[in-house]
């Protein structure tokens, strides 16, 4: 079972890495950065969340530093956008939202699983899953000197958190790692996509 969850983790991580690298590269093009700036944003967006999670759970060196394949995946995602940007810019907004939600779900699930593998308390593992999901985008926004989307996008971190919480619940109920990962991922994805579609907002306090 340890072996299974390690393999599962790697697959989820690689898929999420590619998706977020593509998104980072697209943000770089919007910011008019050059090829290297684009690559830096691809890397930061794709690997930032996982690196922060690994530093926090004590998995040093972080997986994406220890294993060069993550970097190659992030590099490929960035290069695809750079060389095929005419096609990439034709992608409809709805598809981008879906792909982003998929990346969020993959990373939330992978982050929660890895935190559990490292013996982190389930309550904190939910936070670690959330950080894995939103960390890369936060680093990207900080590098672009913008207030991170996660602080403003209404149901984004909330979706990651809900997916992670479902995973923890599933494990308490004795479900297998694969089943809980799928359940958690689906909850995160659906919650994110539906919230954009329905313009769901979280409550806020009126400022002074």
């Amino acid at each position: 079972m340890k072996y299974n969850s390690t393999e599962l983790l790697f697959t989820l991580d690689v898929a999420g890495t590619f998706v977020f690298a593509v998104e980072g590269a697209m943000a770089a093009i919007r910011g008019n950065l050059d090829f290297l700036g684009l690559m830096v944003l691809s890397f930061a967006t794709a690997l930032g969340g996982g690196v922060i999670r690994d530093l926090l759970i004590g998995a040093v060196p972080p997986g994406s530093i220890r294993d060069w394949r993550y970097s190659v995946v992030a590099f490929t995602g960035g290069a695809v956008v750079f060389f095929l940007h005419h096609f990439v810019q034709e992608i409809p907004t709805q598809l981008l939202i879906d792909v982003d939600a998929a990346g969020l779900a993959l990373f939330a699930v992978a982050g929660t699983q890895k935190a559990l593998n490292y013996g982190i308390h389930p309550f904190m593992a939910i936070l670690m899953g959330t950080i894995t999901g939103v960390g890369g985008g936060t680093v990207r926004d900080i590098l672009l000197a913008q207030i991170p989307t996660v602080l403003r996008a209404d149901v984004y971190a909330t979706a990651a958190m809900a997916g992670a919480a479902v995973m923890i619940l599933g494990r308490k109920l004795g479900l297998s790692p694969a089943v809980t990962a799928i359940l958690g991922g689906v909850v995160c994805f659906v919650l994110r996509v539906v919230s954009v579609w329905q313009h769901w907002n979280l409550p806020r306090v009126a400022g002074p």
Copy 2:
């Protein structure tokens, strides 16, 4: 004595965590963030300094990740502000300055103590105490895309540094951990509050 300083550390850390979570939540309301954005800022402000310190001194996973009680304290601080914001906004400015100075003092002392517990050189422990005190507010300001207060607020990091230095001095003189912690905390608190009251400034170089 090791036991004593560990217990002392936890009490100081929890008190500082609550105070800084409240401050982070108030900054979030000023920034018109939603409930989750408020919680993220509460967490980042309350736990950011300690997490950075723990990563730097090699205490991984950081205490606030290992122990879920820190998160609950930060969450409670954020929730208090969210649900009682009408009362919170009535708090006079002077009280806020005092409470902030108290949080700064608690964290500076706790950070210095923990660095010493981990065998960090006393000179560097002063820096670690300072980082613990100002780190959370710095992360909060970076998330809000603002130049961190610590770079501008005149005697802020200086107060934390002075408190930490007093602690180190007290230990060299053979005082007990509790006495040095109280001395250091009082120096930091008084220096901060008096500097605001008296509009003390540090020297600067006129820009070109």
Copy 3:
């Protein structure tokens, strides 16, 4: 040989630390910060890249926390600028570019070497060298709420990466650590200085 590369590392690191501390202090003066803000920027610029590298390669506590001499070097660099700013502001731009390129080269080489010493894969060691070179400046720019120069400066991270890659290549060819370090440093330095002189740009995608 392990001993040699450790000594080499320390010398390169100290030289780069001083150069970058001076630069951080000059950015602080341009930003009209006070003495402490200047010191914070000196420290962050001088030690930020190495701290990030050390966290990523699992060298905790980071060298510049473990060894108080780095802080003293950074402090000295900041103090020199603060007390001698009339002289510092007379330094011609070309010399500043050369000194910055030297700092970049020193850090790129030191970062790559240290990553290799910690058993990081050569491909990732190139990235670690690059991060060591550009990390401090990136932290400085984030603290000043600006988009990091590294995302915009045309051939900057690229020069660091080229120098690091030359080092790796030299090691594959069986050259000694000292020779590969010199080769890598010279490549980084020359590439950076010539690129500024010749206004070299990397390709970019036209934004929408």
